[in-house]
């Protein structure tokens, strides 16, 4: 009996350790914004700002492919990416350097969804990134109004955080959901899980008034248009 109790205890400890693997990973992005600035008197000049973007990403497996999902604005892409332009300044170019996870792995390719949408798929240079968090599966069913969901991400913390929200609105075409309470900014790109611990969406708005998540499906993942990251690293906006 002693051996039995010992083995059960060990089993509990090891499974608890396995479950401690986080659901999401930190995503940081160095942005370099180049401006052409004019002055009331004197010649115009080039200026730059280097803000740091902090968000969340997570690994998902769908239809035989494993990739990372995040909000597009975390990489200065998509319709929700808006920069605060200084006075009398015109944005000329954006340079993006994202890194994923505790081992700061770079990105090799970006999967752009069809149409205009604030989420992207990422392929890391090194596949060991996928060992840094659990690989989630996407739910095949759309959540309903009033469903309670779990949102997981890094709201400006080194450790993963989770919070519960209720879905208070669902778009007519099942594209996005609205939560009953806003989320903190670092949750951008975080995962929304249903009661079965399956991913249903990605957080894209962490506004003070309202937070939204886009709903994802395996079909949407398959239809991503992949581009080498090198094509997106430096973008000129004045052409």
């Amino acid at each position: 009996m002693r051996h039995l109790a010992f083995l059960i205890l060990l089993f509990g400890l090891v499974t608890a350790q396995a479950q401690s693997l986080p659901y999401t990973q930190r995503l940081y992005c160095n942005l370099t914004l180049e401006y052409w600035r004019t002055r009331p008197i004197g010649p115009a000049y080039l200026d730059s700002m280097k803000p740091l973007v902090a968000g969340t990403c997570w690994a998902v497996e769908a239809k035989g492919q494993t990739l990372l999902i995040t909000a597009a604005h975390n990489l200065a892409l998509g319709p929700n990416f808006i920069t605060a332009t200084p006075p009398r300044a015109k944005l000329l170019a954006i340079h993006v350097e994202p890194i994923v996870g505790l081992l700061a792995q770079p990105v090799s390719a970006v999967g752009m969804p069809l149409g205009v949408s604030d989420w992207v798929g990422l392929r890391p240079v090194d596949a060991t990134v996928f060992k840094g968090s659990q690989i989630l599966t996407l739910s095949k069913t759309v959540p309903k109004l009033g469903d309670s969901v779990t949102v997981i991400g890094f709201p400006d913390t080194a450790h993963e955080q989770r919070t519960t929200r209720t879905i208070t609105a669902l778009s007519p075409n099942n594209e996005f959901v609205v939560f009953n309470e806003p989320l903190e900014p670092g949750y951008s790109g975080g995962v929304v899980l249903n009661a079965k611990n399956q991913a249903v969406g990605v957080v894209v708005t962490t506004d003070k008034k309202q937070s939204n998540a886009l709903l994802l499906s395996p079909e949407k993942l398959v239809s991503l248009q992949w581009k080498p990251f090198e094509q997106l690293r430096h973008r000129r906006l004045d052409q």
Binding site: H3, F6, F11, V14, E97, L102, K131
Partner: protein, 226 residues
């Protein structure tokens, strides 16, 4: 020059504040005192039979401790080529980072620290070096990532499950599956027959767990720093 010295001091403070054994293990004062003798002995050995990876490490630490950073860097690079153990390679990269940092080559220092951390994700020292050097070169994303790593590694000593640790964990789960089969047989009055097997599995799992909780099978190369 003044900034460089100040930054070295900051790096040392960061390392010490995270309880590193690296600075102690390098023992610069002892190494400095014994340097000519150590160097001569190692060079003699090198001429006789070529240095091993560990001897390269010892020589590189000695050179670093006596301020010969360029030579220490060359020796650490040579030593790294002689080992296949990722954690031993990470130690050489830790030396390379400090050699580069001491010479003011902060970009190379930061890259070496990051490369080393990827080989040994549990190294607090490499996380501290990453933080120090990426902060120095103004790479905010990398510095934040290093800071997160430090916070994850330091407070409770909980290991981050990556690479080798996950493999060890998977092996543990397989062992446990075998154990469950044994338990099943116990419930069917087979205790006398299978008692030795139960005890063997229990012993093996104890060893496995000790390895995991002590840092997931650290390097078997008996180098000075951990």
């Amino acid at each position: 020059m003044k900034t460089s010295a100040l930054f070295q001091l900051l790096t040392m403070l960061v390392l010490l504040s995270h309880g590193t054994s690296l600075v102690r293990s390098a023992e610069p004062s002892t190494a400095e005192a014994a340097f000519p003798e150590t160097r001569d002995r190692l060079l003699n050995q090198a001429q006789a039979k070529g240095l091993t990876a560990k001897e390269h490490f010892d020589l590189s630490v000695t050179l670093l401790g006596t301020g010969q950073y360029g030579e220490a860097l060359v020796v650490s690079r040579l030593g790294m080529g002689l080992t296949q153990d990722p954690k031993a390679k990470a130690l050489f990269l830790m030396l390379a980072a400090q050699c580069n940092g001491a010479q003011g080559h902060y970009v190379s220092a930061a890259e070496a620290a990051l490369e080393g951390q990827r080989l040994n994700p549990l190294s607090v020292e490499l996380a501290a070096l990453r933080l120090a050097y990426f902060t120095k070169i103004g790479n905010a994303a990398q510095a934040k990532s290093a800071e997160d790593t430090l916070k994850q590694l330091d407070p409770s000593g909980q290991p981050v499950l990556t690479g080798a640790e996950l493999v060890a964990l998977a092996k543990g789960v397989i062992e446990i599956a075998a154990a469950i089969r044994v338990i099943y047989e116990v419930t069917h009055d087979a205790w006398p027959r299978i008692q030795p097997e139960v005890e063997r599995v229990a012993l093996r799992m104890t060893e496995l767990w000790s390895k995991l909780s002590s840092g997931g099978g650290r390097t078997t190369v008996n180098l000075r720093a951990r």
